[in-house]
């Protein structure tokens, strides 16, 4: 798994580092911290001699430090590689001195780009082939970033991969997961699993009904998902929501739960819940939002 963490110099970005570290610790993900700021031509020179001029470089280093602090040095998959010669028993009674490199089993990158922040974040996610973009935002004022209007919303709408928008200082009590159960990937289920572990919370699986009952295929998948989580000791609740009431359900539920929506290419949810509504959800939600793709 590769996680792209889009950050700037404001407190909501610092807030996500801890969560990303936990998530990366559980998944052993490759991680890129991406800062998007003013044009960055002289960073190398200025940091060496005249002090750091670029507003993001020092912040990015702090984020890396905070991220790495989460791991025990010996166990960290991001620890720098240490290479030396070491005798290794290659077969019984035969030892050979081999050049062994330990550590840095996973990639941790710090990248600084300049330009339109939305475009740069999306470009980096495509270059990295990220599985998940993580961003923080102010809780007040409809989930904003300093300097760019509706940045998290625009990234969430246009990204090809899953997006997690973490709202500042909000304890997550429940994850309400609207999965399009007719068409769902193992990757999405695993991602939800990771979120439940990360936030130590309960899970509510929402089954979309079309009329009075669930479609047999949806019901079968819902049963399989329930068994999957039960087997992992994850407390999972089921709630049925009629497709016509989905909008009001989501706006009501987003006040107290982290919403996870499956917005894949063939998802029924992406039809019911188009881009504009996703923007509104991220703005209006009291809690964090996860869009699965």
């Amino acid at each position: 798994m590769r996680i792209l963490v889009a950050v700037d110099q404001h407190p909501y970005s610092a807030h996500v580092v801890k969560d990303v570290a936990k998530l990366a610790g559980n998944t052993w993900a490759d991680v890129t911290f991406l800062g998007v700021g003013p044009k960055a031509t002289d960073i190398g020179r200025s940091s060496n001699r005249a002090g750091i001029k670029h507003p993001l470089t020092e912040k990015l280093r702090n984020y890396r430090r905070n991220f790495l602090d989460h791991f025990e040095k010996e166990e960290s998959p991001y620890e720098k590689r240490l290479c030396h010669y070491e005798f290794v028993e290659v077969k019984k009674g035969v030892w050979e001195e081999l050049y062994i490199c330990r550590g840095a089993r996973k990639d941790l990158k710090i990248v600084l780009r300049s330009g339109n922040p939305v475009k740069e974040i999306l470009a980096q996610s495509q270059e990295d082939e990220s599985d998940l973009i993580v961003m923080g935002c102010y809780k007040k004022g409809g989930c904003q970033w300093e300097g760019t209007v509706n940045l998290p919303q625009k990234v969430a709408n246009n990204a090809l991969c899953s997006v997690l928008v973490i709202k500042e200082e909000k304890k997550i009590h429940k994850i309400s997961c609207c999965l399009d159960q007719e068409n769902i990937s193992q990757k999405s289920i695993e991602m939800i699993n990771q979120m439940v572990t990360l936030y130590q919370t309960e899970l509510e699986i929402v089954g979309l009904t079309d009329g009075p009952a669930l479609k047999p295929m949806v019901e079968k998948n819902l049963n399989a998902i329930l068994k999957y989580y039960n087997a992992r000791q994850i407390k999972a609740w089921i709630k049925l929501v009629d497709a016509d009431s989905l909008g009001s359900f989501i706006s009501q539920e987003a006040r107290r739960s982290m919403m996870a929506l499956w917005m894949g290419e063939h998802s029924l949810l992406s039809k019911i819940f188009p881009g504009g509504k996703v923007e509104k959800l991220i703005q209006g939600s009291e809690s964090s939002v996860l869009l699965l793709r």
Partner: protein
């Protein structure tokens, strides 16, 4: 020994209800019976009489029998007392009602998945089956561990009836119980009051329970909207409440019942 009937269809709600009922057998001294009703097509009528009709009915039953047998087979290892289900043909509600009356069951269990809208539960409570059912009902909305039960008390007289029903079902069981008194108010002001804030109803009910060797772990009053209180009650493996058949859809009590995601034990008034 408590005689319990579990209604089964070949669906998720029934699978959850069956697993929950099996959990009940581990804490209550009870016999578990299962039933399935195969309904003829709504627009079609049963063909003919005598041999023709009997052949048609047995063909219908065979279709349903296989699916229900699969459901039971899946649970048999964890619930050995499960026997073959009784298979009936006809109108679902009428057949279940007849079966309950004929065999004098003490408890009826069925699955109905927790729903965002109130309509499903409202229709169920006002159905012919529930209006005439002579025993308490457990509506299993979700599969949860039966560790703790919440008894929702209202006024003293009504609560006595609930407690007597509860004692009938759970006599001899070793479970933790809480007494909950609900006071409805506008959303956003959820609050809890403990035993120290004197509540006559709670004290009276607690006394009855203690006489019968049940010692509630907590006795508390919850103030909040039905939605907020319902959310608090998700921590229980079963929520027991008394209910009027004539309950209105907009009443706070009904709204509370809808918002509880845990299984609900309904004792009829």
């Amino acid at each position: 020994m408590l005689r319990t009937l579990v209604y089964l269809d070949a669906d998720l709600a029934s699978s959850i209800a069956l697993r929950y009922a099996c959990q009940l057998t581990r804490v209550i001294d009870m016999n578990l019976h299962t039933v399935h009703v195969e309904e003829p097509d709504k627009d079609g009528h049963a063909p003919g009489t005598g041999w023709v009709r009997r052949t048609w009915e047995s063909a219908m039953l065979k279709t349903g029998e296989f699916e229900i047998a699969q459901l039971i087979k899946a649970e048999k290892s964890s619930c050995p007392m499960l026997g073959a289900p009784k298979m009936l043909v006809g109108d679902r509600e009428n057949e279940i009602l007849r079966e309950i009356q004929r065999e004098s069951y003490d408890l009826f269990v069925e699955g109905s998945l927790h729903s965002f809208t109130a309509k499903k539960l409202y229709d169920k409570i006002h159905s012919r089956l529930y209006r005439h059912i002579p025993c308490p009902v457990i509506v299993v909305k979700n599969l949860v561990d039966l560790e703790k039960i919440a008894l929702i008390v209202r006024d003293e007289v009504e609560s006595k009836k609930l407690i007597s029903m509860f004692l009938n079902i759970f006599s001899g069981a070793k479970l933790n119980i809480d007494l909950i008194y609900c006071e409805f108010q506008e959303p956003g002001k959820l609050s809890f009051k403990g035993k120290e804030d004197e509540n006559k109803t709670i004290s009276a009910v607690e006394e009855i329970l203690m006489v019968n060797n049940w010692h509630p772990e907590n006795c508390r009053m919850i103030q909040g909207s039905p939605e907020e209180i319902g959310d608090v009650l998700r921590n229980y493996g079963l929520v027991a409440s008394l209910l009027h058949h004539s309950i209105s859809k907009k009443s706070n009590w009904f709204q509370l019942l809808c918002h509880i995601p845990s299984p609900v034990l309904i004792c009829w008034q």
